[in-house]
Subunit: 122 residues, 2 copies
């Protein structure tokens, strides 16, 4: 465990990285990690067998495609994708998103492919 | 479990209640709850034996007093109070705060007193 007994400014942390679709860990609370990620374009359809995943839009707009409809999120909106539900995040323009999810969560869920990354602390 | 398969707008939810120091549940991700709370004035010194607690300032300013110093949080800052660490939140003016904490977390931690409230979904 990395112990961060300091305050975190979200905007400052977003300034530390530039790549898309590569979540960075900025906090933890018992099990879950707090992650920040920049999104642009389309991701891949996937689901997480055991983990719910919260998407909070900090900047920009994000669409979370579900098999039965789209969830459109603006700044200050969040949505929890329940475990087992297939989803694909899409951002036409760069979006800054805060994620909350159990430590075991892999960004591509039940798949391992070229979009899979291991999150690191920043 | 209350199942909320819908997006949540944080500002809209803050508009649904007015009392201070009474967290409302607006989401859950596996174990933890997402709660919103309005703070004004001083709370009480307490700690949570088993639960880390994240405070994210959505509006206003919040000081989290610790026994060895103060953490001053502005909008967009968050801080995780680790389990077992005594703390007292203080807000000179009304502050809107998002909390992340395990479901077992009681607002007054290891104490039950006149400030203790049970969080409810809104």
């Amino acid at each position: 465990m990395v112990f961060h007994m300091q305050k975190i400014n979200i905007a400052q942390k977003f300034g530390l990285f530039s790549g898309y679709w590569s979540p960075k860990i900025v906090g933890e609370i018992n099990d879950p990690y707090v992650k920040l990620v920049k999104l642009k374009g389309e991701f891949v359809w996937h689901s997480h067998e055991k983990e719910d995943e919260l998407f909070l839009v900090v900047k920009g707009k994000l669409v979370i495609k579900l098999r039965d409809g789209d969830i459109e999120l603006n700044e200050g909106d969040f949505f929890v994708v329940p475990k087992g539900v297939e989803h694909m995040p899409v951002a036409d323009e760069e979006a800054h998103v805060l994620l909350l999810e159990p430590k075991t969560t892999l960004n591509t869920g039940n798949l391992r492919n070229e979009r899979t990354v291991e999150a690191e602390w920043i």
